[in-house]
């Protein structure tokens, strides 16, 4: 039941990997059960015609996703067209060298069906646990990404910064698939410097669009678009924007509200706070019939401009697997096909399609064959002999040394 795909926008789901008691039964799944359930959810996302599955990263209970590339590689092996992504990858506390290696590796295993969203994380102790200082969160995000960006685009990197051991003659392996690094989204909910960073590199910007009123994200996205143009990557309308969102669906809205209310009232983040009614009014959370969800999310582009990716949070706060799979059935069966139709209408031709590896390879090499990295024999003299430990790719005459 694959939905015909319109390349303009990608639709998918993102999960924070929380293991939360189901407030209606008092039952908490085991780590193993919840991990297996998430794999089932990801496979089903592809079955119902969604495009993207994105996974969070946490290093403390009650979350399980400490090692996202392991999980995403497993899902890649069990799916055929689903794009695997993150929400988010911690650019502050992970070593950028390991991110470069892990995600290039995943990119090869998934044959290009990989991108990632970088974020700073919101759990204070993760910084000291990984030897970092939370007060340096923003400088870490800026410096670490500068290094990651180079590691994926230069075969040999000499580097020295404030936060990491210097590198001399380091080559991150494997090289990005076809010499095209995974597409990067920068996620932030409040920090203008991160919007600036995304714009500077011509990368995507992702607003989680879950917990706050739209005005918070509007300011960031509009800043990102304006600065994307400022740095010469295209017009503001050509910037690459992704949005989160949160929905709970049922055939009719009363059933949706009745079923979701206990999960809302006890949810880890906003539970025991505002009422479901207030929260749905103030934030993009929409609880109701498929048509209500379609109307609300078809209207997002009025606030943020035409955009490229819409992810939904549908599996948190203790919702059982069976319910989540039903949510996916309605999302894939009714909501997303309608959103694809509606959002294609009136979309200006100059607004770019959602990024895919295939498109990025084609943009880089045109009709030519995309190269594959072939290392020279290494006797330890790779770096003395020339600019790269790799043979220059025969195809397209392209230099492997510089990125796009």
């Amino acid at each position: 039941m694959t939905t015909p795909t319109w390349p303009g926008m990608q639709f998918g789901i993102f999960t924070v990997s929380d293991i939360t008691e189901d407030p209606t039964t008092g039952r908490t799944p085991s780590e193993s059960e919840r991990i297996q359930a998430t794999l089932t959810i990801a496979r089903h996302a592809e079955e119902v015609g969604l495009d993207v599955f994105a996974l969070g990263e946490h290093h403390n209970p009650p979350f399980w996703s400490s090692s996202p590339t392991t999980t995403l590689a497993f899902i890649a092996a069990q799916t055929e067209r689903l794009i695997l992504s993150t929400a988010t990858t911690l650019i502050t506390t992970n070593d950028p060298v390991k991110i470069a290696e892990d995600y290039a590796m995943l990119q090869h295993l998934a044959q290009g069906r990989v991108d990632l969203t970088l974020g700073r994380g919101n759990t204070g102790p993760v910084y000291p646990w990984f030897g970092k200082d939370i007060r340096q969160g923003l400088p870490l995000a800026i410096e670490n990404y500068a290094l990651l960006h180079r590691l994926w685009r230069e075969d040999v990197v000499d580097w020295e910064g404030r936060f990491r051991t210097p590198l001399q003659g380091f080559t991150s392996t494997p090289r990005p698939l076809h010499g095209v690094p995974p597409f990067v989204w920068h996620g932030s909910i409040r920090t203008p410097e991160i919007a600036e960073q995304a714009a500077y590199y011509g990368d995507g910007f992702f607003a989680n669009n879950i917990f706050w009123p739209k005005e918070h994200y509007q300011r960031l996205i509009s800043l990102y678009r304006q600065r994307f143009a400022h740095y010469g990557h295209g017009t503001a309308e050509q910037a690459i924007v992704g949005l989160g969102g949160q929905v709970f669906l049922a055939k009719n809205s009363q059933d949706a509200v009745r079923e979701f209310r206990p999960y809302f009232d006890n949810a880890p983040v906003y539970g025991h706070g505002p009422s479901l009614e207030d929260f749905t009014e103030m934030t993009p959370l929409t609880v109701g019939s498929p048509q209500q969800i379609i109307d609300r999310y078809a209207g997002m582009r009025e606030h943020y401009g035409d955009y490229q990716r819409q992810l939904f949070l549908i599996d948190h706060a203790g919702l059982p697997l069976k319910t989540v799979l039903e949510q996916l059935d309605i999302l894939g069966g009714e909501v997303v096909p309608a959103l694809r139709r509606e959002l294609a209408v009136g979309r200006p031709a100059h607004v770019p399609d959602a990024p895919t590896h295939a498109d990025r390879v084609a943009a880089k090499y045109g009709e030519g064959q995309a190269p594959e990295a072939v290392p020279n024999p290494n006797r330890g003299d790779n770096l003395a002999g020339g600019p790269s430990p790799y043979r220059q790719p025969a195809a397209a005459g392209a230099s492997f040394r510089k990125g796009e």
Partner: protein, 214 residues
């Protein structure tokens, strides 16, 4: 010139409250003092009790409901701030602190503040100096040296006969009016203006450290 905008935060829980009574007295005295200096002043009163649920929600969700957001905007964009809290268990009220906690930590930097408090007896009067003043010092606000404490007895004949409540209000209002009048009209920098977070005329390269001397 445009009118000075004075925000008045009253953290009393009952209605009517003697906290509000003191807040109104302070506000009236400040308007009078500014007027005598030729400055027109308007006041925005924020009664925290009206926002009690929204303040708690904001603590949990990280964002303010629309009516609370309006109140916060009035406070952080004011030319000066009058705060009055009841003293509970030897300090400011929990509701008062919760409201302070939902403000951006930098939002009151440099803000002239008039500190007020009330309680049943004058034995709590130092709470202004050991509880409120350090809080506003932490926020880099600029509280004037005279704080006004009103015990229940100050509202009647048994009050302080040497330095009466009215005299203390006038003295504090005079100091506060001088601080407000000496300050350029409030203009909040836009945090989403690249000049604010990068510095005027700078590019992301400066954050990358690519420009020596930065």
């Amino acid at each position: 010139m445009t009118a000075r905008r004075i925000a008045v935060v009253s953290a009393g829980l009952s209605s009517p409250s003697s906290t509000r009574l003191l807040a109104d007295r302070l506000a009236a005295a400040v308007v009078r003092e500014l007027g005598s200096r030729g400055d027109e002043a308007v006041t925005d009163v924020v009664e925290l009790r009206d926002h009690a649920r929204a303040i708690t929600d904001n603590l949990l969700t990280g964002f303010a409901a629309p009516s609370l957001e309006t109140a916060i905007d009035a406070v952080v964009s004011a030319d000066g701030l009058i705060v009055v809290t009841p003293i509970f268990s030897a300090s400011y009220s929990g509701l008062f602190k919760s409201f302070i906690d939902v403000l951006d930590p930098d939002a009151l930097t440099g803000m002239p503040v008039l500190l007020g408090a009330n309680a049943g007896t004058a034995r709590h009067s130092l709470a202004i100096d050991y509880a409120l003043r350090p809080l506003f010092a932490y926020l880099h606000a600029a509280p004037v040296s005279t704080g006004v404490f009103a015990a229940s007895s100050d509202w009647g004949g048994a009050g302080d006969q040497v330095s009466s409540l009215a005299e203390r209000i006038d003295r504090a209002a005079g100091e506060f009016a001088a601080a407000v009048a000496g300050r350029p009209a409030a203009s909040a920098p836009d945090p989403f203006d690249p000049a604010s977070y990068l510095g005027e005329g700078r590019s992301f390269n400066h954050l990358l450290g690519g420009h020596p001397g930065e």
